[in-house]
Symmetry: C2
Subunit: 322 residues, 2 copies
């Protein structure tokens, strides 16, 4: 099953989103224009637009009204990516040069700010301050998550709870908001909006956990970025947190992960230990629990064809190949 199948209920709309992403960030300034366009063309799964569109499609067939929201959500996501690039000194994202490595730190920061401001101007067209409020609140939490991730680098004493709180802000929140706003825009009953919001939250958690697993086990070609990039940067994710605590070589792992030098130089050894441990399996189980919770939320939603997509997405994530 591919992304295409999962989102086939909104294929046409996603194509429009793609066009609008490019047209929406046009600027008179060539440098800004190039940097932003490069950012859009680097691609990505467009998960957030897809979720907003699917959510709305639960309640209406005409999704024209939802397009600007879908575009805005992806722009917000992109703004966080371009700022991450500045910070992590990443030179490769999804196999393409990042804005930073092409144009330098300054342009990356400004391009991120520009893209974020553009998303707001799109949202302002709805004249819906409740939607803005949700986005503003989410943006603040996302910043907190980023600071949190930075602070927890090389911190070998973090536990499951710290990790979950971090990925909640890093990933789950904006996916949750995407599902929520797709419904909110159409003023559907509150319990349905809440069910979609919760679905997005649980799904986002599972998505990030499996993404973190992939950083240990995936093929570089499939991943589109170097394997072990988390470890190299001292980002300690669930499989490693488990292995530190429960693997016989946990103490060795703990010492290495606490040291920026060892993380950078011994990433292959570290990845090996984590792969040999039960950390991957454990993380996978945690992810599956979230996916089950996500699917439970679907009970509150109308039995329309698009509902199957929500179910399939959860199944797809539980079947990601490790």
């Amino acid at each position: 099953m591919t992304n295409f199948d999962l989102f086939n209920q909104v294929t046409d709309e996603l194509a429009i989103v793609e066009e609008r992403l490019i047209s929406s960030i046009k600027s008179d300034l060539p440098l800004l224009d190039q940097a932003s366009t490069h950012l859009v063309k680097a691609g990505g799964k467009r998960l957030r637009p897809a979720f907003a569109l699917l959510s709305a499609k639960m309640f209406t067939e005409s999704l024209d009204e939802v397009i600007p929201l879908a575009v805005a959500l992806e722009l917000i996501h992109m703004a966080t990516l371009v700022h991450d690039d500045v910070i992590d000194n990443s030179s490769l994202r999804r196999g393409r040069e990042t804005v930073k490595s092409g144009w330098g730190n300054r342009v990356s920061i400004y391009a991120g700010n520009y893209v974020f401001a553009r998303s707001l101007s799109l949202v302002s067209l709805y004249q819906r301050s409740d939607i803005l409020e949700v986005l503003a609140e989410a943006s603040m939490r996302i910043c907190e998550g980023e600071i949190n991730q930075m602070m927890s680098c090389y911190d070998v004493n973090q536990g499951l709870k710290d990790y979950l709180r971090r990925i909640e802000r890093k990933t789950a929140l904006l996916i949750s908001v995407s599902c929520q706003l797709g419904a909110m825009l159409l003023n559907v009953e509150e319990y349905k909006t809440r069910a979609l919001k919760n679905y997005g939250y649980y799904l986002g958690m599972a998505f990030q956990i499996t993404d973190d697993i992939l950083d240990f086990v995936a093929d570089e070609e499939i991943l589109g970025k170097p394997v072990g990039s988390d470890i190299k940067q001292g980002v300690i994710t669930l499989p490693a947190i488990y292995a530190i605590k429960f693997d016989p070589r946990g103490d060795q792992l703990r010492n290495w992960l606490a040291s920026p030098e060892e993380c950078a130089n011994r990433s292959e050894d570290i990845i090996q230990i984590v792969n040999d441990s039960e950390g991957i399996d454990y993380a996978y189980q945690v992810s599956c629990r979230y996916l089950e919770k996500a699917r439970q939320e679907l009970r509150f939603l109308p039995d329309v064809p698009v509902k199957e997509s929500f179910n399939n997405i959860a199944l797809f994530i539980s079947n990601r190949e490790f």
Copy 2:
């Protein structure tokens, strides 16, 4: 005349803004909290809140409703400053350590984003999407101005027009928006809102021009930052643009200003040439023309006591000591 006298019509409200600035950016994350609070406590003239309050006071005595807007405007301004710090490697702003030099690049970027998102959540409380639209649009233009400034560094071929377009986005826009929104919030007649918007624009232009003059002529102690900091970074402002074109030593100046090394090492010589030229006088005249235009806009506004403040602010800027 001091800032205190200029804004004495809104002294009490500015004190509330100051408190709210600190309380509004509280975060559970100690590092983010410290960085943001440091940013607020670094002070600043609070020009944007003052203008929003004064504008509103043209039409009402009760300014409670305007406070969140005033706070939001300063937060937006602060977000741009903290991102500037990352970029310029400034280690001193207003005589205090910048967020960057205290906590590093990453925290500065995230703190800026956080503070910006916080300003949006404040604005969303008004349930006024027209206000959001103005702010989103202004934010995009400000980013463009920042990129523009970056691109024009060491560019000795820029003219008056390039310079004016740049400072428009860098400074005049947000001051203009502050004046405009103070009136918009109260739904006053459109021509009055426009007069305040124009006043803010012209005043902002004059303010930046005199600020740029000060970078050549002021005392380091008065300025709160090193004299010649523009030149050292290759930022070519009006006095230098004039001197390049019309001073007998213009060619010498042109060669130096085109070179990052000469800008860094010969800043004192460069400052001397510009000071000896008629560039300072010329820039001052341009500034005065804007101030005259600003004062002309006041004709469209009601004859209430606060109008005198708008007049005095323009006079104050024309009397800044060079």
